[in-house]
């Protein structure tokens, strides 16, 4: 595994008990097991705790601006179509400041794997409300409880056209790893969400105990329901966290369509041309 790490940069900046390390470990294993030439795999990240993964992995790695990992990765992928692109970022980066980019990258079905570590808050800045923060949860900017209802990221990804969508909690390491592997193998936009403990910021304010207790809590709330409608794949930490593989479909990518439309097999369109009649 060391060959994929910038070991000279260790120790890392993540807090004790943070769930990012587990996801990072699963990701490194998935890359190693994939058999891809590491020189042909690149990582792109945004800003925040999860975004720092790009600084520790020994691949071509790009730590971009807040929320902009996906459009940067889109440019990189289209310029270098043979490169496997993995985007890693947090819930705030991907779905608040980067929300617009997320829906469009999924809609275009850009061939990349997006791993979102969802810790229900902005950890790097000390624990503020995020678009994932559960209704009523306490953060430094919602001390009386968050008045907003959170996104369901997997449902959002699926409704925008992602070709692969899965969710796990941080303790389900083997499932995370296999989902990342499957998403990497999938031609198209793959999305893997991991519900991960942030004991220093989110857990502490919501009296969720230490990191291990948080891990067990999320795992305990989780119910595996693969292949259900993502609208029903809820994340409600008071009731249940639905996990599993929700979407695994084949759909042409941006480049498939681009090449089809820009290297037309048909003669130029004109009214009444036999090749352009209905059904041909």
């Amino acid at each position: 595994m060391d060959s994929l790490l910038r070991t000279e940069r260790i120790p890392h900046i993540w807090c004790p008990g943070c769930g990012i390390g587990t996801v990072f470990n699963a990701l490194l294993t998935a890359i190693k097991d994939s058999g891809y030439d590491p020189d042909a795999v690149a990582m792109v990240s945004g800003i925040g705790c999860t975004g720092r993964m790009a600084g520790y992995i020994r691949l071509d790695s790009f730590h971009t601006t807040h929320g902009r990992a996906l459009p940067f990765a889109t440019g990189l992928k289209l310029a270098k179509p043979d490169t496997k692109i993995i985007v890693v970022s947090g819930d705030g980066d991907l779905f608040a400041i980067g929300g617009n980019h997320f829906i469009h990258a999924a809609r275009r079905n850009i061939d990349m794997t997006v791993v979102c570590v969802n810790n229900f808050n902005y950890g790097m800045t000390g624990g503020q409300q995020a678009p994932s923060t559960p209704l009523g949860a306490k953060t430094t900017t919602t001390i009386n409880g968050s008045p907003e209802e959170p996104f369901n990221f997997c449902d959002l990804a699926a409704s925008c056209g992602a070709a692969y969508v899965a969710r796990w909690t941080a303790q389900q390491v083997r499932s995370i790893r296999s989902s990342i592997s499957e998403a990497m193998e999938k031609r198209g936009f793959g999305f893997v969400e991991v519900i991960a403990p942030c004991p220093s910021a989110f857990g502490r304010r919501n009296r969720m105990g230490n990191a291990l207790e948080m891990l067990k809590f999320y795992r305990g709330r989780s119910v595996i329901r693969s292949d259900i409608d993502t609208r029903d794949a809820i994340v409600d930490i008071d009731r249940e966290i639905v996990v599993g593989k929700f979407v695994d479909i084949e759909r042409p990518t941006f480049m498939d369509h681009y090449e089809k439309f820009n290297r037309p097999q048909m003669p130029p369109w004109r009214v009444g041309h036999p090749d352009h009649q209905k059904g041909r």
Binding site: H63, T64, L70, T74, A79, T83, N100, Y258, R263
Partner: protein, 374 residues
Amino acid sequence: MNGDEACCEGALAAGCRFFAGYPITPATEIAESMSRRLPQLGGIYIQMEDEIASMAAILGASWGGVKSMTSTSGPGFSLMMENIGLGICTETPCVVCNVQRAGPSTGLPTLIAQGDMMQARWGSHGHYEIIALSPSSPQEMFDMTIRAFNLSETYRLPVLMMADEVVGHMNERVVIPHEDEIEIISRRKPSVSREEYLPYKADDDWIAPMANCGDGYRIHVTGLTHDERGYPAMNAEAQERMVTRLVNKIRKNRDKIIATKNLYMDDVEVVVVSYGISARSAMKAVRDARSEGIRAGLIKLETVWPFPEELFRSVAGSAKALIMAEINGGQMVLELERSVRGACPVKLVSNFGGAIIHPRTILDAISKAAKGKL
């Protein structure tokens, strides 16, 4: 062809094969031309969800080893500032063409201004140096877009083309030279092994050779302050070292970057300074002044940033007055005043946008200056 189309052709001639953009008047024709022409050349055109994404995408494409550009106007230029800063910090070659219209805000979408000149210089946060060019005709849109790519590949930064609505939309003859006559510069590649390579260690000219994604060097690129390895370094010393180099790679190479076009400057009394479309009004005014026997001359700025302050310092010693003609409330004139340091009077001829400056207005200012009545 019009200026926007000439910009597209210049980019293609320079080797641009990736364009990401978002429709905006009066720059839309650049995107439209790119969408037609790039697929013919095996390139990629993509319309992004906004200008933030467009700027991010061209940076990504550039690291993928493909020359890339975007185009926009004021409102989109504002959105691009964030990732122009990322391009500066990560030293990413690319080109941004701003076909300026009148602001602030939505302003006059279809009408001219040159009001984004200071935004071009200082629009992204933090301290840095920038390169910006200003074309005055469709021919210069073609020629300068090639130069913009060459400068961006040489000095490793986003280079800004500060065009304007009139230059973008005017139709004029554009001569496209044979490809052998076009100088194309591409980024310098590392000459050392993977183990020895330091992505942000500069050569003697302050510029660091660039490995692309997939070249096997396993680079790390970040918008955080970084050391020569490209690794984040959160301290004042690293900041001093990094920004010094970002600044010096432009400042120490100013002579190679700065370009001006001079007209009637041999025996000059009154010097008009201008750029973009305003330089053409100024040219007409200077010629008219000459026919009236006034010893007027023109310095047309082809690079607006870095500003040629040494040139103006030397000109100011022998001139009666300097006149800046520009379509804004007075932006580049501030640099002119700063450069001449009171050695001679500096007069601004301008409007706030919506129309070009009439040559007559500039001629009036020249006549007054010649009589010492500024």
